[in-house]
Symmetry: C2
Subunit: 528 residues, 2 copies
């Protein structure tokens, strides 16, 4: 295959390695400040070789909408996958679709949580040939091995077969070994129950999910030889079920963890939405001290396991001679509240859920950068496309390439705030609050100092991150901050107005029509 000059020049990017973790808090990486005794030397080294973004945010702290934003470069308000397993509308395009016109594919190893809108094909009578069908079914990706995790796998799944071949004999090898333990009495203890978190998984580390996917990534990259590739390596962990194999299950103890950030005031005077989320089962569990004391050490162990596997993967890339021509992105689809603010899981707009780690290693950029710019998950698509010299369809993509910043041709991203959204229609919170399925959205706008959260049908929340960086005092009703609320409300409205909804016509076509429309059509409008 002929190689274009730009691809063979020193420092030019030929390969993309887009690594995502699931539910990984930024503050659990030691390069982000770290938590308790946990150190992440390999991720710190990755940050040192590239750029670490201090203020990186996802567009929704839920897998489905966040990942669709990572893959489409568009906010959930635009791609419309507002929650988990909401099918993607049949007009949307994702990373692999953006690469397809240049004859490239975006390969997938691991999780996407993507659901195609099959009914949408039927409604319109659209039919697909095989290549188009794969992209349709897989959100634009070309699966090497899709593995969404969190469930027992069907017969024939590659990871299941791997487990069976490695001797984990069971009809449910994931349930029985990967998230299964034996308790002190030798009885089976399911990883679904948080009380069993501290018990070691029955799987050996090398066969657990993170090492397994890393091995598959190494196999894939090796198989490509000197051909260019683009790979989305999408880990399942440290997402629940919180279950680690030895030695990670016992690497940290209750004495090593950070205490949950929460106050009694947050319970006694909670905003109705915060209160409704506090009533979810996972929140009520994490409100109990024994729960976060059991879970947080295992979560830390799972992060450490990821760090070790990143070390292994980077050692392979160095050995394979791929560090100089591979752009690497490391991030997460959202964080995990782990009992902060009396909440389990994610979704809510508090920093531990909506802020994520983001490391970008660009061979053409200076190492060791630490950036305070506001960046968003929608910036990944234009960054990856620009790295391959592919056009960024600006009439669709709402993110901005980070390359000018990284390569020193821009000094700032000129973004004054980030925006997140939530659709809690699928959650018990909707029933607690007596809302219908079409009136359950929340919206966050976070600028350099404040975080405004607007809810359909409820008063807004407001946090002053300068005076209250832990977001413990909701000042949504504070009269002294009324001007701030107004300013941010207007900013949110302005943001809503500016969305990329005219997605079927390029900016160039608009400009052309502005100048030539009437002439082209041979019509005269309003001429005397």
């Amino acid at each position: 295959m002929p190689t274009s000059p730009s691809l063979s020049s020193p420092g030019a990017v030929r390969n993309l390695l887009f690594i995502m973790c699931d539910q990984l808090r930024a503050d659990h990486l030691s390069c982000y400040g770290g938590t308790g005794a946990l150190r992440t030397p390999h991720l710190d080294a990755l940050a040192g070789r590239g750029a670490r973004f201090e203020r990186a945010y996802v567009s929704s702290a839920v897998c489905g909408p966040s990942r669709t934003s990572f893959y489409s470069g568009r906010y959930p308000v635009s791609h419309r996958v507002t929650w988990n397993r909401v099918p993607l509308p049949v007009d949307e395009l994702c990373l692999g679709d953006y690469l397809a016109p240049s004859g490239r594919e975006f390969s997938l190893l691991g999780k996407t949580h993507f659901v195609p809108h099959r009914a949408g094909l039927d409604e319109h009578g659209y039919r697909l040939d095989d290549a188009a069908r794969t992209r349709f079914l897989e959100g634009g990706f070309t699966p090497v091995e899709r593995y969404d995790g969190h469930f027992e796998m069907p017969q024939g799944s590659a990871y299941r077969e791997h487990l069976l071949a490695r001797g984990y004999q069971s009809a449910q090898p994931w349930t029985d070994y990967v998230i299964g333990s034996h308790d002190a009495e030798g009885c089976f203890a399911s990883g679904w129950y948080l009380r069993n978190a501290a018990l070691p998984a029955r799987v050996r580390d090398e066969d657990a999910e993170t090492p397994y996917l890393t091995s598959r990534a190494i196999d894939f990259i090796r198989s490509k030889g000197d051909s260019p590739w683009a790979l989305h390596l999408s880990y399942i962990k440290p997402h629940w079920p919180y279950k680690a194999p030895a030695p990670y299950h016992a690497m940290f103890g209750a004495a090593d963890v950070a205490l949950p950030v929460r106050t009694e005031l947050e319970r006694s005077h909670a905003h109705p939405l915060h209160r409704a989320y506090q009533r979810h089962e996972e929140s009520e569990s994490f409100a109990r001290d024994e729960v976060w004391r059991a879970v947080r050490p295992v979560y830390m162990g799972l992060v450490r396991q990821i760090d070790d596997q990143i070390g292994r993967l980077m050692a392979f890339l160095a050995e394979a001679g791929r560090l100089h021509d591979t752009l690497i992105v490391f991030t997460s689809d959202h964080g995990d509240l782990l009992g902060d603010h009396w909440l389990g899981e994610k979704e809510y707009f508090f920093e531990p859920a909506i802020r994520v780690p983001l490391l970008v290693v660009d061979p053409a950029a200076a190492p060791g950068q630490v950036r305070n710019d506001f960046v968003e998950c929608i910036d990944v698509v234009p960054t990856l496309l620009e790295a391959l010299d592919l056009p960024v369809p600006e009439h669709r993509v709402e993110g901005r390439s980070l390359l000018p910043l990284l390569r020193g041709s821009a000094s700032s991203l000129e973004r004054e705030f980030v925006v997140g959204s939530l659709d809690y229609a699928y959650r018990q919170a909707r029933l607690h609050l007596g809302r219908g399925p079409h009136e359950c959205t929340g919206w966050m706008l976070r600028d350099a100092r404040f975080k405004l959260i607007c809810w359909e049908g409820f008063a807004p929340q407001l946090f002053d991150l300068h005076d209250d960086p832990q977001e413990l005092v909701d000042r949504g009703a504070d009269p002294a901050l009324a001007p701030v609320r107004r300013r941010l409300t207007e900013a949110l409205l302005g943001w809503m107005m500016a969305r990329r909804r005219r997605s079927t016509e390029t900016a160039a076509a608009v400009v052309n029509r502005t100048h030539a429309h009437e002439r082209m059509m041979n019509i005269l409008i309003g001429r005397w």
Copy 2:
């Protein structure tokens, strides 16, 4: 074909007749108060047989977005056809698509201005069979005869062939006869020039666009016999070119017309957007007295011609015995400013452009109703679907059926405001204002008293329709109305938040998942 009991019961709707005019101001119908000497007795009679909506609004005062809202039941913010000839995203559904699952079609006679997103098919690799292709190409409709008007027709077009057969021999029969005249010296005078508006078209009335389409509608309905049908009869007029055949060209004179509503203050202290629109050629023309004095009488004549044709069509329906089982909607895609506020054309959010006539004759409802409820063009889809006992897909359709109101089972629509939007990226106004093609949206929220207009990058406008029903005093910067601006700004943000963007999953599916999701998937989230 077997007929279901509900279809054969007295008063039940079997047929739909959805009549749309193009650029027809509500105030030119005498049942809406009327203008000067113009009377519209047949439309008044239609209103008398059904309901007349006093406060009906389109979602954008431009053909493309307004029609797509009429056809999809969704606001432009949702269907994303923000201006003329912007292709419809390939995931959207329109009237004919909503009827298709029940085996029915929505026939089309006349204009839709619809443009399919052919490139969208290619981007995804979607292929179509013939039936699906027609709906894709025609915005869901099944054309009896599509005729978008305003341009010379290609060879073989039915109306062109009709004109040729009727003796209008020319390579350009529309240009030469339908909008062509002879001046006092016998020289050809093109209808494209407003100065020629008062000259009679060379076409005979019976062969002009409005009578021609009416004849085709009568043919179509007659051809259906006793089979049920749904027809969109979509007139081209009174849209420019302002050109009427005898006798309509001379039915009204300068003494008969209403004076343009405008003040010097509107020019000397115009909002930047208003000023930019005043600089358009059609606005500068209509700023001159000789222009509106020449055009307004012809516009009135074209409305009178429509009224006469409605009389003819209704006489036919009565004779054919179809009045008792046909639901009739009469409306327009927007109005025409005709020099009001120093503007020509439409687009801007003033009442003569954004407010439209809406008459609904439902055989099952009481006659002679006059309603003050706020209704919107998006209400037509659910009204028509409910009239045929078809389900309204509420996860997509944002309008509300008017039938409960009309049939007395609801006393109010409980809508506190209407919303309109504009994308002026395609207009000279963008260049005057130095804006990029993705930063040109405007948004109108009109409640019982006020009209707020928000623009990207500019201060808002505000009109008090109680004290200033003609919208002559922009109070956007009036400190006394700051609380009103804030209240309406928050209402607009709330409206934005509530859009139907989760369009790939029904409300019932959401409710089901709220209750059963975790159990269905055999997972436990956050259980101790």
